[in-house]
Amino acid sequence: MNIYISRFLSKPNWILPGLLFVALFIFRKPVLTYLVQEREKVQEKSKAVTLSYFLPPFSPFASFVESQKPLAGSHPGQCVRYYDKALNFYPHLIDAHAMLGLCHYYNGDIPASLLSYQKAVASNPHFFWNQYNLGVLYYKMGQYSASTEALKQAVSKSPEMAFKIINVSAVYKQIWRHMSEVEGRLLENFRLGLQDAYALLVLDQYHLKNFF
């Protein structure tokens, strides 16, 4: 017996790696699941940490919603980086396309803004403000027929749907939680937006020379 033991100990030990291999083979599913879950957790954490470095102040957006005064300074540029990164990490945040479009607009990049609003409308065509903003952008670029189409879509959307989207959106929540009075402001802005949409429809027809 001692001979066998000494022989075994004198040869290269393959039993231990072999046993480990067999154990891994038997428990491969839970082990792999655990490793994948851990990897995802680390990735999620690193995404959140990275995104926090780009986090802009949201109060300028809140005052923009409340006063309608245009955004200025370095804020739009900072927000472009933030929403760009956010969409890179979380492509399901469809409302971030609209915010990216707004920031591109105030950063002076109208074509990029249009592209973002097109994506926003493609992701959520039922939201009044996506269609409205797309119509405004087309108008600013002199594409009056496209603007008319988008604005016609906008005026057909219900305010209830708009409020619902704003309430459930994680992206918009970051803004409206900085506002003092939300419901009344949303209603008033929707009214003003509708008014401007009709005014732009008139302007579109004027530029298209559709007088009848």
Binding site: V65, Y117, I166, A199
Partner: protein, 87 residues
């Protein structure tokens, strides 16, 4: 009232495009009634009245347009005021 002025103003411009100076004059007059601070509407009204041969009224309207420009400067137009919004 200013929003009505906007629609009157563009109805006036459309009437001019359609070679309908009487209608244009009516719309510009309604426009300046709705928004007495609208220099552009006074200017267009002055031009229409001048074309119609009503020199004295045209002169008054054009003078008013010039005076408003001096007082208010170039006011942003309705289309300039329309901007993308969040919600």
């Amino acid at each position: 009232m200013e929003d009505n002025a906007f629609y009157y103003y563009y109805s006036g411009l459309a009437s001019l495009e359609l070679q309908q100076p009487k209608e244009a004059s009516y719309f510009f007059q309604q426009c300046v009634k709705s928004d007495p601070e609208d220099a552009d509407a006074f200017y267009q009204l002055g031009l229409v009245l001048k074309q119609a041969g009503n020199e004295s009224l045209a002169g008054k309207a054009l003078q008013k347009a010039a005076a408003l420009r001096v007082v208010h400067g170039q006011r942003p137009s309705k289309e300039e005021k329309i901007i993308p919004r969040i919600f």
